[in-house]
């Protein structure tokens, strides 16, 4: 085996022109292949010679293609940019408009707009099916309207009962003033209370009036627990009533009598 290799190597050296791999790499790296391969060197030199005029004939066309492509690319970039801006701007505008519209609609629905704007909004949104708030334009259902009233009626009724002289109740100065204000004057309290009682007994949804409706009688039926303390100006202070309310009661009472 070794002899065979030696023989081959000897043959190669004798021939002298055989190119090995390293030499091929050197030739490829533009090193002249040496005197043994002068003609090969000439061939390779010719193969990598500078371009001939014939080869370079197409320069103008290719540069024109380059310029045209650049122009086209620039134009399409510009078009893409405008398209991108438009794609971003349109939904943003629509979103903003929707936001403003719904915000105004909600504000109008809840009645949070200034008076004039509120009326404008109702005119605008009633066309779109948004109902007006309870305080606004005519509302077909009356049930929402007297919302705050019953509680006032109930308070006024208790005031009336106290005022009417139920012996077990006492009307404080403040409450009396309020009752007078609600009735429209001291003189009208009696009429106001009468009307109130009449209205309360008519309406089924006035719970506090039903047990006290028979109480307009000036003396009333004394309840067992409070009768001793009120009927007699007691020397023994009862635990339920303090002296002051009894004074006010006496203070007020004569004027009613007169």
């Amino acid at each position: 085996m070794r002899d065979l290799n030696a023989l081959l190597r000897a043959l190669r050296t004798r021939r002298g022109r055989r190119i090995d791999r390293d030499q091929a790499d050197m030739i490829a790296a533009a090193h002249p292949p040496g005197d043994d391969h002068r003609c090969l060197a000439a061939l390779l030199e010719a193969a990598r010679a500078p371009g001939t005029p014939e080869e370079l004939a197409g320069e103008k066309e290719m540069v024109a293609a380059f310029t045209a492509h650049r122009k086209r690319a620039a134009r399409s970039v510009r078009r893409q940019r405008t398209a991108r801006i438009r794609a971003a701007l349109v939904p943003a505008t629509i979103g903003l408009a929707l936001l403003i519209l719904t915000g105004t609609a909600v504000a109008a629905r809840t009645g949070n707009l200034p008076q004039e704007a509120q009326q404008h909004a109702h005119r605008l949104f009633s066309a779109l099916g948004v109902p007006a708030p309870g305080t606004g334009t005519p509302d077909p259902s009356p049930s929402t309207r007297p919302g705050p009233r019953p509680s006032l009626d109930v308070t006024a009724l208790t005031w009336c009962e106290a005022w009417g002289g139920a012996p077990n109740r006492s009307l404080s100065r403040d409450d009396r003033r309020r009752l007078a204000a609600a009735a429209g004057g001291e003189e009208d309290i009696a009429k106001y209370c009468r009307d109130l009682h009449a209205a309360a007994s008519k309406s089924p949804s006035a719970p506090p009036s039903s047990p006290s409706s028979p109480s307009p009688s000036p003396t009333g039926s004394p309840s067992p627990s409070t009768s001793p303390s009120s009927s007699a100006p007691s020397p023994i202070p009862s635990p339920t009533s303090s002296p002051t309310p009894s004074f006010t009661l006496e203070d007020d009472q004569p004027r009613h009598g007169s």
Partner: protein, 180 residues
């Protein structure tokens, strides 16, 4: 053409400069065309045009130095050359076999070692050796890039180059010119 000048031209072309592109084309097109003559024969011109149009189209996506640009350019050239050859063989079945133009070569040889003659001699090699010689020796690509383009291992590229050079050295037309 000096490498620095070509590298500057590449950068200018990437920035859209037509003069830079012209310089780049003048520096590299001849070797592309010669490689394609070996690969695609008479369709080399069409394949070279296709190659450069592809480069123009995708240059904005290319990033790298002149060395990697050469590799990219010759990879495109190889694909276009193979495409052209396949298309022509499909459309013209009766076309003459793509042998190296032997009579031309002899005529050229008489005139001297012109470029066309040299290329036609290399084109007469077996395809893998011819491609290896063209890419390594003429285009000046390194072993790794050539192996990448040809889809071979670097060792196989070195052997193919060596065998191709040996064959060229033993070529009768060269041997006869040996004594001149």
């Amino acid at each position: 053409m000096p490498e620095e000048e070509l590298a500057a031209a590449l950068r200018a072309a990437q920035d859209g400069d037509a003069a830079g592109f012209a310089t780049l084309w003048r520096g590299l097109h001849p070797n592309v065309l010669r490689y394609l003559r070996v690969l695609a024969g008479e369709h080399a011109e069409d394949a070279a045009s296709e190659t450069w149009l592809h480069v123009i189209r995708d240059l904005h996506r290319f990033s790298g130095d002149l060395g990697s640009f050469r590799g990219w350019l010759f990879r495109i050239a190889r694909h276009r050359g193979i495409d052209e050859k396949r298309r022509s063989s499909r459309t013209r079945e009766t076309a003459e076999p793509p042998t190296a133009a032997a009579p031309d070569a002899e005529a050229e040889a008489a005139e001297g070692a012109s470029t066309a003659w040299a290329v036609s001699v290399i084109a007469g090699l077996p395809v893998d050796q011819a491609e290896a010689v063209m890419l390594r020796v003429v285009a000046g690509l390194d072993v790794a890039t050539t192996a990448d383009i040809l889809g071979k291992r670097p060792g196989a590229v070195r052997i193919a180059t060596m065998r191709g050079l040996r064959r060229l050295a033993a070529h009768p037309q060269i041997s006869t010119r040996q004594g001149v």
